[in-house]
C-alpha cells in the first residue's frame, strides 16, 4: 500500500486593519457600526489611562503588584465586543479592557491588586469570573460553565482568555480535549504576547503557530492579529456563532505583545531587547485604530483631547472609589469560608487567636479582652 496523507491542513490568519492603517474593506466594512467604533476607541483610551494610573499607584506604594495590560487591550476588547452580555468571560489577569466592556466595574480590578478580596466579588448579572492567578487553570472552568449552559438548554457560551505560557500547562490540554470531545460551546482566546515573564514563546511551543494546537484536539482554529480590533471582533463573532449554533469550540491565537514588564515586580530589560519593544510600539492597537477613525472622519484631535480629559477624570474617580472603601477588618477573612461557619472557626474569629487556653467557649470573652486590650 502506498503511503498516503491523512491530514494536510492550513491555518487561517485574519488581519483587517494592519499596523500601517490599511483596512480590508471586504472583511471589515459593516463589521462594527461607526458609533461603536468610536465607543470602542474611547474605551481603549480610558483603559490605557487606567493601566498607567495603576502602574503609578504601585510605584508610589498605594497598590501591590500589578500586571500592565498595555499593548494587548484590543485582544480582550475585540472579543468582548463580539460576545453577548450574558456570555461568560473567563479570564486570567490581563484583560481589563474586555472585562470593563463586559460590565465589570472598574474599581474591582484595582481593589484586587490593592490586596482586597472584595474586588473579586463579581456583581450580580456580570458574567465574568474572579482573577485567576494559577496559570492555565481557568480554562477548565470555562468548559464547565459552557457545559452547564448546554445542559440547561441556554444559548450562553463561554470565552476564556489565557497566555502563550498557559498553553504549556496540562490544564489547557484537558480543557481543549473536554471542550472538543463533549461538544462544548467554548472559545479559547490565547493571548500570544511573545513572553511568559522572561520566557519566550518558542520555549512553550516549537510549532510555527499556537493556533494549530486546536487542530490536535479536533477544533476549529485561527490566528488573528490581536492588535487589530476588527480582526478580533470577526474571529470571535465567527467562533461565537459556531459555539451557539453547533456547540463546538474554537481556538483563537491572538498575536499581540506585552509592551510593559510582566508585572511591576519584573524588569523586562533583563531579558529582552528594546528594539523588539520599539518595533511593537509601532503596532500598538490604538495607533492604527485612531488613524482609521480619522481617515473615516469619525475622529479628530479635538475629540482626542476631550476623551483624554474624560479618561483622566473617570479613572481618578475610580481610584478615589477604590481607595475610599473602608479597610477590611481582620475578622473579614472568616466571612466567606463556608455558608455556615463551623463552631471552631467562629471561636477563632471571635478571639482572633489560635492558642487554646481561654478558648473554652465560656472563656471567650476573657480571651477577647486579652487580644484586644
Amino acid at each position: 500500500m502506498p503511503i498516503t496523507t491523512v491530514l494536510d491542513t492550513k491555518i487561517r490568519r485574519i488581519s483587517i486593519l494592519n499596523e500601517h492603517g490599511d483596512f480590508d474593506a471586504e472583511l471589515g466594512e459593516g463589521l462594527i457600526p461607526d458609533d461603536d467604533q468610536v465607543r470602542l476607541y474611547e474605551h481603549l483610551v480610558v483603559c490605557r489611562q487606567y493601566d498607567e494610573v495603576a502602574f503609578k499607584l504601585q510605584r508610589s506604594g498605594r497598590m501591590g503588584t500589578y500586571p500592565q495590560n498595555k499593548g494587548q487591550e484590543a485582544t480582550s476588547l475585540g472579543a468582548a465586543y463580539a460576545l453577548r452580555r450574558d456570555d461568560w468571560m473567563v479570564t486570567c489577569y490581563r484583560e481589563n479592557a474586555g472585562l470593563f466592556w463586559h460590565g465589570l466595574p472598574m474599581e474591582h480590578i484595582l481593589l484586587s491588586w490593592m490586596g482586597d478580596e472584595r474586588g473579586n466579588r463579581i456583581p450580580e448579572g456580570v458574567y465574568c469570573t474572579p482573577l485567576a492567578v494559577p496559570i492555565g487553570t481557568q480554562m477548565l472552568h470555562a468548559a464547565g460553565l459552557a457545559w452547564a449552559a448546554k445542559y440547561r438548554g441556554e444559548d450562553r457560551i463561554a470565552c476564556t482568555f489565557f497566555g502563550d505560557g498557559a498553553t504549556s500547562e496540562g490544564d489547557f490540554h484537558e480543557a481543549a480535549n473536554f471542550s472538543a470531545n463533549l461538544d462544548l460551546p467554548v472559545i479559547f482566546v490565547c493571548q500570544n504576547n511573545s513572553w511568559a515573564i522572561s520566557v519566550p514563546t518558542k520555549i512553550q511551543c516549537s510549532a510555527p503557530t499556537l493556533a494549530q494546537r486546536g487542530i490536535a484536539y479536533g477544533m476549529e482554529c485561527v490566528q488573528v492579529d490581536g492588535n487589530d480590533i476588527f480582526a478580533m471582533v470577526k474571529a470571535t463573532a465567527e467562533a461565537a456563532d459556531r459555539a451557539r449554533r453547533e456547540s463546538r469550540p474554537t481556538f483563537i491565537e491572538a498575536v499581540t505583545y506585552r509592551l510593559g514588564d510582566h508585572t511591576t515586580a519584573d524588569d523586562a530589560r533583563r531579558y529582552r531587547d528594546q528594539d523588539e519593544v520599539d518595533a511593537w510600539m509601532k503596532r500598538d492597537p490604538m495607533i492604527r485604530f485612531r488613524r482609521h477613525l480619522e481617515d473615516r472622519r469619525l475622529w479628530d484631535s479635538q475629540k482626542q483631547a476631550d476623551i483624554q480629559k474624560r479618561a483622566e477624570k473617570e479613572v481618578a474617580a475610580v481610584v478615589k472609589r477604590a481607595e475610599e472603601i473602608a479597610a477590611p477588618h481582620a475578622r473579614d477573612m472568616f466571612d466567606h469560608m463556608f455558608a455556615e461557619l463551623p463552631e471552631e472557626l467562629r471561636v477563632q474569629r471571635d478571639t482572633m487567636r489560635t492558642s487554646s487556653i481561654g478558648q473554652d467557649p465560656a472563656q471567650i470573652e476573657d480571651a477577647v479582652e486579652v487580644t484586644n486590650p
Binding site: V133, I197, V199, Q204, S355, I357
Partner: protein
C-alpha cells in the same frame, strides 16, 4: 566568610555544588537569563550554560516529572517551583512518584532531587504567592522537608539536600530572603538534615518554630522577661525529636508557632509527639500560634493572619502562668 542574605547564600551553595558535581541540573520557570523571579539563580546560567540552567516551559508537573526522570537516570536535578502556590500541578508527580519511587522499585530507582520552593507570606504578594503548605508534604511518606531561617543554615542545608540520596523539598521563606545578612563561610560546609538548632537557651518555656516565623519568635522573646528556649526545627521531616524532648523536659511548657493554618498543621504533629514522649514533664497544655483556618487572605490582611510577636507573646504569658 562573607556577609550574605539568604538569597545570596542559596545562590552560593548552588554555584559551589554545580561546580563540584556536573550531574546537577537546574530547571524551572524564569530561572535562566532572568535569574529567577527572586534572583536566587542569578548569574548561574551565564556561568554554567543553558544546558545546566534550563528555562522550562510553564508547567510544574512537567518540571517535576522530568526531574524525576533525570534523577532516575542518575543525575541530580534541582527543579524550582516559582511559588509554593504553584506546587498544585506538580502534586501528582511529587507525591505519586518522587516520594514513592524508591519503595516502588524496591530501591532500584532513587530520586536524589531537591525541589526549591519560595514559601510563606509577608511580602505583599497576590493570591497563591503567600501560602505555607509544608504539612501537606510532611504528611506524604517518602519526602524530606527542609526550611531554613537564616543565611548560614540555608547554605549548609541546601548542600545537604542536594547531596541527599532522596527527594527533598527545600522551602525558602521569601519574607526573609533579604531581611538580614549573616556571616556565611565561603567554603563548603553542611548543616545536617534532621537536626534542629537551639537559637536561644532558656528554662521556662520551649518555643518551637521554623522558617520566617523564627524571626517573629525572636522578637517575642526580646519583648518578654521570661527565660525562653527557642528551637528552630530547620528540618520539618524528619523532625528532630531528641532536641525537642530534651528542651521540654527542662521547661515543661511549649508554644509552637507556624504560618500555616492550625488544623492538621505541623504543630499538631509536634504536640502529639511531645505528649507521647514527655507527657509527665508537661506543666501546661501545649499551645499553637498559627495562621487561622482560613484561606490566606490577600495582603491587606496578611499581617493579621500571620503569627506576629504580640500573638506569640500572649501565648507565652498564658503558658507560663498556667
Amino acid at each position: 566568610m562573607s556577609n550574605l542574605t539568604l538569597v545570596q547564600a542559596i545562590n552560593l551553595a548552588l554555584a559551589q555544588e554545580m561546580e563540584a558535581d556536573d550531574r546537577i541540573i537546574l530547571l524551572g520557570e524564569d530561572i535562566g537569563l532572568n535569574g529567577g523571579v527572586f534572583r536566587v539563580t542569578e548569574g548561574l546560567q551565564k556561568r554554567f550554560g543553558p544546558e545546566r540552567v534550563v528555562d522550562s516551559p510553564l508547567a510544574e508537573s512537567g518540571i517535576i516529572g522530568t526531574s524525576i526522570g533525570l534523577a532516575m537516570a542518575g543525575l541530580r536535578p534541582i527543579p524550582e517551583i516559582q511559588f509554593e502556590g504553584f506546587m498544585g500541578p506538580a502534586y501528582d508527580q511529587i507525591c505519586s512518584h518522587a516520594a514513592r519511587m524508591r519503595t516502588r522499585s524496591r530501591g532500584a530507582f532513587t530520586i536524589p532531587m531537591t525541589i526549591r520552593v519560595p514559601v510563606g507570606g509577608g511580602i505583599h504578594a497576590p493570591e497563591l504567592h503567600s501560602d505555607s503548605p509544608e504539612a501537606i508534604y510532611a504528611h506524604t511518606p517518602g519526602l524530606k522537608i527542609v526550611m531554613p531561617s537564616s543565611p548560614y543554615d540555608a547554605k549548609g542545608l541546601l548542600i545537604s539536600a542536594i547531596r541527599d540520596p532522596d527527594p527533598v523539598i527545600f522551602f525558602e521563606p521569601k519574607r526573609i530572603y533579604r531581611a538580614f545578612r549573616e556571616e556565611v563561610p565561603e567554603d563548603e560546609f553542611t548543616v545536617p538534615i534532621g537536626k534542629a538548632r537551639v537559637v536561644t537557651e532558656g528554662d521556662e518555656i520551649t518555643l518551637i518554630s521554623w522558617g520566617a516565623t523564627v524571626v517573629q519568635c525572636m522578637n517575642a522573646i526580646e519583648k518578654s522577661h521570661r527565660s525562653i528556649e527557642l528551637i528552630d526545627l530547620r528540618t520539618i521531616y524528619p523532625i528532630d525529636m531528641p532536641a525537642i524532648v530534651s528542651s521540654v523536659k527542662k521547661t515543661g511548657r511549649v508554644v509552637i508557632v507556624h504560618e500555616a493554618s492550625k488544623t492538621c498543621g505541623l504543630g499538631a504533629e509536634i504536640a502529639a509527639r511531645i505528649t507521647e514522649q514527655c507527657f509527665l514533664h508537661l506543666e501546661a497544655p501545649i499551645q499553637r500560634v498559627t495562621g487561622y483556618d482560613t484561606i490566606m487572605p490577600y495582603y491587606k490582611l496578611e499581617l493579621e493572619y500571620l503569627p506576629e510577636s504580640n500573638r506569640i507573646g500572649t501565648a507565652l504569658e498564658e503558658v507560663a502562668a498556667y
